[in-house]
Amino acid sequence: MTAQEYAFLVVATIGSIAAIAVVTARNVVHAALYLVVALLSVGVTFLLLGAEFVGWVQILIYVGAIVILFLFGLMLTKAPIGRDTLDNQHKLLGAVVGVLVFAGLVGLITSAYPLADAETPPPTPGTSELLGRVLFEDYVLPFEAVSFLLLAALVGAIVLARKDDGEPS
């Protein structure tokens, strides 16, 4: 076990607890704050894996922008607070499916990559210079497509959410 692995185990434990808290919290605002912790731990995992640029992008975009969007969404919809109003009647079925998915994935992972055989890979380069080179040399077309998608989503969101003229507020 390397130092990075110990750090990863701590971060992953915190992130897992936070992820479970997101889907079980009784209060929607608490769930959004747990989501911050889960996304932060994912970002720290990226940094520990050597993906510097992606790690910081994760922290900036997810924690900085997407969670704020969620909080705005909660604020504008005045969601009721309380377990009975947040969960539907299929909670038990959902829990069974979630546990089965987890068990299946873990079984698959441990049979495909046994932990005893797994070797510790050397650090991966993930600096912004290298990533930018690959992004703009090999993946220019997908990059442009994603930027167009973001523009379309921006326009679509404004059209959907704005109030029509003359409509009483």
């Binding site: 390397t2 692995e5 990863f8 185990l9 992953a12 992130g15 897992s16 992820a19 479970i20 997101v22 889907v23 929607v28 769930a31 996304l39 994912v42 995992t45 990226f46 520990l48 894996l49 050597g50 993906a51 992606v54 992008v57 975009i61 997810y62 997407i66 969620f70 969404g73 504008l76 919809t77 005045k78 969601a79 109003t85 947040l86 539907n88 909670k91 959902g94 979630g98 546990v99 987890f102 873990v106 992972i109 797994a118 510790t120 890979p121 050397p122 991966t124 380069p125 993930g126 990533l131 690959v134 992004l135 090999d138 997908p142 990059f143 994603v146 998608l149 989503a153 959907l160 959410a161």
Partner: protein
């Protein structure tokens, strides 16, 4: 560095939590949060395999997934606000206009 199976198990747990959230929550914003958890599980997988294979390509795709997730949240929350304005409720099990 970190061995691959540990990363994959963390990702599997995030994904299962997301699956449970999508199935069990009835508040639309909470369903969107659970979808974010699942997308993050995919990102963790991509970066883990990027470290294992010593290739930067998966990290580029992680950036694309983050961008698409941002677009998805924007549109999703706009739809939720529209739904709230029309029905005064954002419970997904009360939305049955297209159900037969």
């Amino acid at each position: 560095m970190i061995r691959l199976p540990l990363v994959l198990v963390f990702s599997a747990l995030l994904f299962s939590a997301g699956v449970y959230g999508v199935l069990a929550r009835r508040n639309a914003v909470m369903v969107l949060m659970a979808i974010e958890l699942m997308l993050n599980a995919v990102n963790v997988n991509l970066v883990g395999f990027s470290a294992q294979l010593r290739d930067v390509g998966p990290q580029v795709f992680t950036l694309f997934v983050i961008a698409v997730a941002a677009a998805e949240v924007g549109i999703g929350l706009a739809l939720v606000i529209l739904l709230f304005r029309n029905r005064a409720s954002i419970n997904v099990d009360e939305v049955n206009l297209l159900k037969w």
